[in-house]
Symmetry: C2
Subunit: 453 residues, 2 copies
């Protein structure tokens, strides 16, 4: 019997078990697990443990400095092990009054499971477990071994994940990893990396009070100083003028260049209309937008304030001013080195007094687009969605995936059940039942291709 036919039986089994799979998702969604406010976390970890065991995995709860991490292991055919990495925590519910179905009831409404966590990330978890269960039911074993990490702090920056990975490298000796991601229209996106983040706070203080502005001629204004400092760091041509900022930007590989050329241009006109944009940055044409977006680092003012910010008139000289600078980094920029570059830049330009604090950092990372993990996802996409997956070699956001890619030294593909309609992080988060079932089939096909590679 050819492999594809064998897989057909597994995929059919998933289809036939739709009702059970939906009720499995409802079970997870009905357990609250808001990491921000620490609601239901321990109960959720216990349920995940029990659920992994029910699916046939050997499961463990690991204590951390924060929320527990649950792992599972299941030995399959062949020598290769595929790691799945997900999270059991969810975002807070607000705005609460916009939910049309109670967020922890997980009702099925018109073919959609409506719940906080339905897609992000409990739908992803269930799609993976349903795939494993189908293999065990139809074939008695998986086409590859699997390792599962489900953490409880993804929505709050995954502070316990890196130490956990570093302390468990033997247990996590695997050949590739599948994380979560989205669809573009009906085609799965394969995200092979993430941007780093260097989030700085700049604080300027010229006096211990705000002065009446009739003294503006003789006292320094912190708002002006901060303004001059910021203007020295980036020009209106969007070039970052901080010396050393671009030093560690690695050129794209030939394969990455090819993937960038294949990217669908963004629809600039549509975005201008939708968001009432003055213009796109640098008036870039549509075909240059993906490259600019995905391969360039940014140096962004996420916020600034000084002096009087209310309505109307107040006449003061600001003694304090503050800006938040949010840099998205590309491989191999390092947030601490960027912080040092900014510090040196300020010192060289006469702004020694402006304080710089690194409030948050994460590292950039990217995976080899020619790895077997990527190829397995491409094959699975053709098989289940009858479509060529969209490869995003870089990722646009800053996610915890760098901890896996860099610290385990393996390729990672972000891909999963998240359609644009799923409203993740918003009110009325949902997962269409059809997308859940297709997602389970997709995960089964990935395991199959990965095992056969």
């Amino acid at each position: 019997m050819p492999a594809s036919d064998e897989l057909d039986a597994v995929l059919s089994h998933i289809e036939e078990n739709t009702d059970r799979i939906v009720s499995d998702l409802q079970e997870l969604c009905r357990q609250k697990s808001i990491s921000t406010t620490h609601i239901g976390i321990d109960e959720m970890a216990a349920l995940i443990l029990e659920r992994l065991e029910r699916a046939g995995l050997e499961a463990t709860i690991h204590k951390t400095g924060g929320h527990p991490i649950v792992t599972g292991r299941l030995t399959g055919a062949g020598a290769k092990t595929l790691l799945f990495y997900n999270h059991y925590d969810v975002q807070p519910l607000d705005p609460l009054d916009e939910w049309t179905s109670p967020p922890f009831e997980a009702n099925v409404v018109d073919g959609y499971v409506v719940a906080r966590g339905a897609t992000d990330n409990k739908g992803n978890i269930i799609s993976r477990l349903a795939a494993f269960e189908a293999f065990l039911a139809v074939r008695g074993e998986l086409p590859c071994s699997v390792m599962y990490i489900i953490e409880g702090e993804e929505e709050i920056g995954s502070p316990s994940l890196l130490p956990f990975i570093n302390e468990n490298k033997d247990m996590l000796s695997v050949d590739g990893c599948i994380w979560e991601d989205t669809f573009r229209e009906d085609v799965p996106v394969l995200s092979l990396g993430n941007k780093g983040l260097c989030y700085l706070e700049l604080r300027c203080r010229t006096a211990n009070v705000d002065f009446h502005s009739s003294h503006a001629q003789i006292y320094e204004n912190a708002a002006w100083r901060l303004n001059w400092a910021l203007a020295s760091m980036k020009g209106s041509d969007e070039k970052v003028l901080v010396e050393g900022f671009y030093d560690d930007v690695t050129p794209l590989t030939e394969k990455e260049e090819e993937l960038v050329r294949l990217m669908k241009p963004y629809d600039g006109a549509e975005r201008k209309k939708k968001f009432d944009l003055r213009r796109l940055a640098l008036d870039l044409p549509d075909e240059e937008l993906p490259r600019r977006h995905l391969t360039n680092p940014s140096f962004n003012i996420a916020g600034m304030d000084a002096g009087y910010t209310g309505e109307g008139v107040k006449t003061i000289v600001s003694g304090r001013a503050r800006a938040k600078i949010d840099c998205r980094l590309v491989v191999d920029q390092d947030p601490e080195k960027i912080r040092d570059c900014v510090r040196r830049h300020l010192d060289r330009h006469g702004f020694e007094d402006i304080e710089v604090e690194l409030l948050f950092k994460s590292l950039p990372a990217k995976s080899d687009p020619e790895s077997i993990t990527v190829k397995a996802c491409q094959e699975a996409s053709r098989r289940v969605y009858d479509a060529e997956a969209v490869i995003n070699p870089f990722g646009s956001g800053s996610t915890p995936t760098w901890m896996v890619i860099r610290n385990l030294g393996i390729p990672l593909v972000g891909t999963g059940v998240g359609y644009i309609t799923a409203r993740t992080h918003s009110a009325n988060e949902n997962l269409k039942v059809e997308h859940l079932i297709n997602g389970a089939k997709y995960m089964a096909a990935i395991c199959e291709s990965f095992g056969n590679a």
Copy 2:
């Protein structure tokens, strides 16, 4: 009998009537008159009318578009008329819990009348009325005619004063004006003018939303645009780069240059210590501070905000940014022309999209330092305080006095009972009884010198 001896009798009469004068001040302070919240305004205007009549003036309440203006007239000896201009409204009370004596009980505590309005401006009013009453009691007439304007909107920008002045120019045909001002240590300050004010709001809007900062490479950030626009308008050498900004700055007269040279240097070291200053603007030496402070226009950021301004981390591209620009103007800069210069500057530098709104304006003005009104105050200072008054030819703040100077075409001197200890606009505003009585003598001496000039 020489004039000085005659005046001695008037001054003695004031001294002998200390208790009555204090109780007159208490009477005014016990009537609430907060213009911001429109508390007690009409009752206060009625009390002022009654009080002017009791002092022997022919008084009138004038309706305006806002709070009533009360005027009084008293014909005295000679041909000259001196205008007194004060206000009966007071500042709000906050912070209320810091008052150690109820703000409208006007108790005498250790020789100080403690009340909202005790100095600003009811103490000034009573000092003037006590002077008039003493002349009438001792001599039966004043050494000059007096006209009195007491308005009720000084603390909220005097919106009704200019139309009132323009509609009553015949009634206000006078030879000079006395307004309020402060002391430097124990010496009266004579302020001969005021700065103008051009208060602008600059608004930049690049999109109808804030974007997730993972899009910083492709969307414009309003915070950056505003930053670049501001940096184009003033350099770190404090020079305003807005074309035309300095065009209407009139050079100082020879007399003004002389007065500036005579000014006491500011104590920079003491201010640096007190306010924990990084430095004084441009590291100016003490002797240059008064000239810089009083003769230069300013271009100050009174406030700016964009994006996320709370604690910690939020990663957004700001779609909106706002700055408040507060320019103190010198003679003969005009706030509307300055607004137009800023508009043209933005247009020329590629910031056509940034909106500019003039939120508040007032004009600069200055009085002839050699006028008889100034000389009368100088003589009175020598007589009552045994000190040479400090002449400030310009004034540092933006006050309604320009309406009198420019629209009546007369010299105005700001001088009065306001010591630095009086805590005007703060909790526990007060007036020392001794300062009130000296203030009344000072006003009597001014009238005498003005009448004899």
